[in-house]
Each structure stands twice: as structure tokens, then as C-alpha cells.
Amino acid sequence: MIERFIQIVKTDAPGAEEASATRERLKGGFPPGAARRMTQLGMLIGSVLGAMEPTAADAVVYLSEFGESRALESFLESFPGASPTLFQTSIHPSGVQQGLIGRQRSVPELFPFAGAGGIVGQALLAALLSPAQRVLFCGGEERGSRLRELGVASERTFAFALALTREAAPGVAGRLVLSPDDNVVSKLSLSEWFGILDQRRDYRGPLVDGFSLQLTWGPT
């Protein structure tokens, strides 16, 4: 059994908000000039992660099934004069790097996960096995446009970040426990995970092959 405490949690689910509106809403949280190259996903992740007040000792685990699908679309469209900015931005894990580079915040460990399936469970395992005293667990998606219509980008836009610690400090928001369970073969999806965080729902059930998860909100 591996236990961690959720010290801080932040979510953002802007619905159908366009990227330009997200930039206007969030750009004040970044150094001047940093926002001009940031994507919607980058601004959302940077904003929720900023609420964790990252330090140089924190590890970061980042998960996104589709990553920077808008930048990917735009990069494909830029050929034959391929855009170096869009190339750079489309490469995973740009979504989390944009904000950290904007704030010049070094990170000793960054584990970026992609894809569907067991992404939440595998990423939580990485977070819990990190030797860092505090792990910032963050992720999200941005709604795609043409790639979404083809089924290769996200339908939704959302972002989340948690600060996970080994000990509970005053103000702790919740507790999560991973337990080995050979009976578990199903996987908690990223969308379901976001719902649990956004709605502050307790959860007890399958996480990923071989592990179950118990998440309870409130002071311990």
C-alpha cells in the first residue's frame, strides 16, 4: 500500500472557451511576454501548476492523452514552409514546459505521459515512486479542431494539478492510497479522473492493472 496526501488541488474546465479568451483570462499569471507563444493547453497547465507554487525540489508528473493537438494541426498546415515555433510547440510535453520555462522554474524530474488506457494509474505510480518529497501531478487536454473531427484529438478542454506529499501538513485537502490488487484489470480514464478532482468526489475502485485506488477528500 502506498499513501500520499493531497495538499493542494486546482482544476480548470473552461468548456467551449476559445484559446484567445483563455489567454486573456490567464496571461496575467505569467511574466510579461511569456504568453504570446503559449497555447491554450500550455496556459491552462501553467496556470493550475502555478497554483502549486513549484519549487526547485519538486518532481512533476504530467499527463495528456493528445497533448498539443492545435499546434500539431497548425504545424502540419504550415508546410512546405514549416514553422519552427509550431514544431517546437507541438512536441510533447510542451504543454507543461511552456509555463515552467516562462517562469524559469527548473525541475529535477519530469515524467510526461501520453496516450489513453492506463495513463492515470501509470502516472500515479510514477508520482508515488519518485523520491521527491513533493510531486506535482498535473495534466489536461485542449479541444482539437480538425483533428478532433477525425477522432485524433480531444473533445474537451480541461486541466488539473495536485501537490502530493508523503506527510500531511495543515490544510491537507485529501488522501490517496494505491493498493496492489491482482483482481484489477480495468483502468481509470483521464476523463473520469478529472471528474473526481473537479467535483471533489471520493473514489474507491480500480486504478490500473494490479492496483486499486482509494481517494478521500477532507482533512485526515
Binding site: G33, R36, R37, G81, A82, S83, P84, T85, Q88
Partner: protein, 91 residues
Amino acid sequence: MADPLTFRLKNIIVETLHLEGIKPEDIKDDEPLMGSGLALDSIDALELVVKLEKEFGIKIGSSEESRQALSSVTGLAAFIRQRADQSRLPS
């Protein structure tokens, strides 16, 4: 009266790099483009190169050559005048 090429380059810089709150006339001719008040970096430089290659039909071969070309607006204008077909320069 501003030199047409210099004027066009300043517009390209603002438009291509989405510089909010900066007008073309705010950019000084001889101010270093990188690491100055504009806070442009190497990726901005390369983005400009793509645009300049397309507009003026010039070719920049390496990242080192990019840095040399983009020393300042004045330096860039001289670089383009040297490399471009004159018919592609603004009159």
C-alpha cells in the same frame, strides 16, 4: 521618410511574432533584435527566417547564419539587399 525595406521588416517582426503592445515604429533600426527590449529569442529568429525566406526569396543555411543576419533591423536590411532579387524588395 522611413526606408521601405526597413519599414516592411518592422511590420514583419510585429506580425510574425505576435508582439502585443508593440508597434513597428517602436522598433529602433540599430537596436539588437535578440536579447534586447523586444525579448526575442532564437525560436523567434528562426520564425522570422521562414517568413523572410518566403517573402524575399533568400536562403539562410544554418542557425549560425540566422544569428548573423538578425543582428538588428539595419543589419537584416543589408543582409536582404545583398541576397535578394531586387524585384522582390519593396519600393
